[in-house]
């Protein structure tokens, strides 16, 4: 078992970049900030590829099983002798896989941003935040301790907050960032309590130990946690569900998804990195990390499954109706993550039944590439058009050929058309679903069809539809960001094209990675084969969906509107995102603020403080009342004198003899 200590540098390099840029970037390094960040990240990427090679192909496997290797463990904060936050590095298939994904996507985004964010006033800050995010994400995936996960979880959240609110003078961006942070924070509360529960019964916070203890059916910990129950559900279920709540929040699962579409206010590369490829899959990753424990508890798994499936469908439906291209992509992300979730949910731990797990991870892997590709493509489109709205676009295929091709590939990939990446992973998921749960399978199939429909709706709307030329894009341009200086820059500089090309290549290629050999629930290789007969149905479905989309949107016509009006209420509901936002707004603005906040504030001013004031006032009043004693008449004084004597005498001569 060789030494993986150098993995430590993979997160540390971005951290260093963040510190340097954060302290001095603004003043001194604003010129070279981008290069600096990119360079450091390039190094991390190379390192992580080395790590991947070493782990998967050199010494990760010991007699046919990929080992969990704890490369580093340092007690950071000790709560009590055996319960402590340990900063550690765990090396196992999924973490290594994630390493590769995160670093490479992040690298692409760094490169892309060199062009996209060029000339921004807070260029250095931007790269500082990017590095911060990359660091936190890497820390998150390398965590060996559940509390460490939580820490980096929060850091990821805050860096996403900072990046979304990058255009801080845009109120909508600020609002979006607030929403994102608060919603995820709310979910994290669940996560925290889940951790507390698991940690209490498990007597440790180390994930490895937790798994060990909770998977051993006759261990004291397992018995105690399953024995204890609350509202009918065992503490294990509670703990896992709450942990999953955290995951759902980050992965924008229904009903905690509302922040994701708004988060698109951030710069597009950021959306590509955070809200498509990496952070949003953290939830999936978390469930996968804890999967052995999840697999011990049917109830929790079911929750995962149904939440995942629901989100997948729900998001797909909405995505069909949105007109802001980034929002469409956001919803598609949500839907794809839903895929991964329920894939995990239906999976079992180990062996053939672990197919779902493997498939989910596989989809996560492929999705990262084509989804970031989609976002970056959208990015360069927006960069050109200065608008997120479909209506401002159309016929761009001539103006930006490379983007066009890349986007097309990505669409095909997500639609699951062979031989593109999405096809393979999706097939695995569908197969797993088919074996485990027919209802889910149905939903999955339908969602797949919807996916290809809305993706190509997007594609045709951008690149085909009405024929327009670059010039009048310049007119419609309303400042998406401070780029109005230079309008007709075509597809932008090569730094923006290069990532598209590379990612497109990945979107084609990564499907052929022998994933099932490498990443499985139990580390053993899993023999899978693409069953052609089985895969006909979904492919045909998506092809049909694509044709439908082409029919609707390839040229300008009003068929789509007809259909929309045919659906009527459903359409508007979907267009309005099923009014979830409104519900949240109602709860916060109409319930929490007026019925909890204001009463408390009022009570504090008038009751609690009022009581103190009352004491003071009463004292003053009493002293006003009794001032008559001091009448100024010496005779009254004498009488009071006598009265005093009388009282004392009565008391001591008659009462207390």
């Amino acid at each position: 078992m060789s030494n993986y200590f150098y993995i430590l540098w993979i997160p540390l390099l971005p951290l260093a970049t963040f510190v340097i840029l954060g302290l001095f970037g603004r003043k001194y390094l604003s010129g070279i900030a981008g290069l600096l960040g990119t360079a450091s990240l390039l190094t991390s990427t190379i390192l992580s590829f080395i790590a991947a090679k070493q782990y998967f192909f050199v010494d990760g496997k010991v007699n046919g099983v990929f080992q969990k290797i704890v490369a580093l463990k340092y007690t950071w904060l000790e709560f009590s002798p055996n319960v402590s936050i340990d900063l550690g590095i765990i090396v196992d298939p999924i973490s290594v896989m994630m390493l590769v994904v995160v670093t490479s996507v992040s690298l692409m985004v760094h490169v892309f941003s060199l062009g996209y964010m060029k000339g921004e006033e807070r260029f250095a800050t931007y790269y500082a935040f990017l590095s911060l995010f990359t660091f936190s994400m890497l820390g998150l995936i390398l965590s060996a301790n559940i509390f460490q996960v939580y820490m980096f979880w929060e850091l990821v959240g805050v860096s996403s907050f900072l990046l979304i609110s990058y255009y801080f003078n845009k109120p909508s961006a600020v609002a979006a960032s607030k929403k994102a942070f608060i919603v995820t924070r709310f979910a994290d509360l669940g996560f925290l309590i889940g951790i507390l529960i698991l940690g209490f019964y498990g007597g440790t916070l180390d994930i490895g130990l937790l798994i060990e203890r909770f998977t051993a059916v006759n261990s004291v910990h397992y018995i105690s946690i399953t024995g204890a129950s609350f509202l009918g559900a065992s503490m294990l279920t509670w703990g896992l569900t709450l942990v999953f709540m955290g995951g759902a929040g980050k992965s924008s699962m229904f009903p905690l998804h509302i922040w994701l579409p708004d988060a698109m206010e951030g710069p597009t590369p950021v959306s590509a990195l955070i809200h498509a490829a990496t952070m949003v899959v953290a939830g999936v990753y978390l469930v996968a990390r804890m999967f052995p424990i999840f697999s011990m508890d049917e109830a929790a798994l079911n929750i995962v499954t149904y939440v995942g499936a629901a989100s997948a469908l729900f998001a797909a439906v909405i995505a069909c109706t949105q007109t802001d291209i980034k929002r469409v992509l956001a919803y598609s992300t949500m839907s794809q993550i839903g895929y991964m979730m329920f894939a995990l949910g239906i999976s079992k731990n180990g062996g053939e039944n672990g197919l779902g797990y493997m498939a989910s991870m596989f989809h996560l892997f492929t999705h990262a590439f084509f989804k970031s590709l989609l976002f970056l493509g959208a990015g360069s489109v927006i960069h050109m058009v200065h608008s997120n709205e479909m209506k401002d676009m159309g016929g761009l295929r001539k103006l930006m050929p490379i983007t066009h091709i890349a986007f097309l590939i990505a669409c095909l990939a997500i639609a699951g058309i062979p031989p593109f990446a999405g096809f393979f992973s999706k097939e695995e998921i569908l197969t797993a679903a088919f074996h485990e749960n027919k209802i889910i399978f149905g939903i999955a199939l339908f969602t797949a069809a919807l996916t290809s429909f809305y993706m190509f709706r997007l594609y045709f709307n951008i690149f085909w539809s009405k024929e327009t030329s670059a010039t009048n894009h310049a007119h419609i341009a309303h400042g998406h960001d401070n780029h109005d200086a230079h309008n007709n820059h075509g597809e932008g500089p090569w730094v923006m094209k290069l990532p598209l090309i590379i990612l497109a290549a990945c979107a084609v290629g990564v499907g052929f990675v022998p994933f099932s050999q490498l990443v499985t629930s139990d580390g053993k290789a899993l023999e899978t084969h693409i069953d052609v007969i089985f895969s006909i149905a979904p492919v045909v479905l998506s092809v049909l969906a694509i044709l439908l989309a082409a029919n609707f949107y390839k040229n300008q016509n009003n068929k789509s509107d007809k259909v929309a009006s045919a659906f009527g209420g459903l359409y508007t509901a979907a267009y309005k995102k099923f009014y979830i936002d409104e519900v949240y707004l109602f709860i916060t603005k109409k319930i929490i603020f007026p019925f909890i906040g204001q009463p408390i504030a009022w009570a504090d001013k008038n009751i609690v403080d009022g009581f103190m004031q009352l004491l003071a006032k009463t004292t003053a009043k009493i002293s006003e009342l009794i001032k008559g004693l001091q009448s100024g008449k010496v005779q009254n004084y004498a009488m009071y004198f006598f009265g005093g004597i009388a009282i004392l005498s009565i008391l001591f001569l008659y009462i207390w003899k």
Partner: protein, 104 residues
Amino acid sequence: MQDIPLSQILFVSTFLFFIGMYGLFTRRNLITMLMSIELMLNSVNINFVAFNKYLFPDNLDGLFFTLFIITIAAAEAAVAIAIIINLYRSHNSIDVDDATEMKY
């Protein structure tokens, strides 16, 4: 002489005392109030003398005390009257109710 019991003398003195007190409480004229106080003091004198004569005839503490009370009462009266005169200068009245500027 011996057949007057102590209790009756004490009764007289107490009665005197309360007459004095009553006078002090009710009369508005400062001089009269001063006189009422003298009454009280005198009742005390009677007490002392009576106690001394009836209960402890073998030493004369009571009598002496009486003498001192009388002298001091005189001194007190002197000062008091001086003050009252001065009050009259400033207030043009020796009615106690006119001298109630300071109150509350």
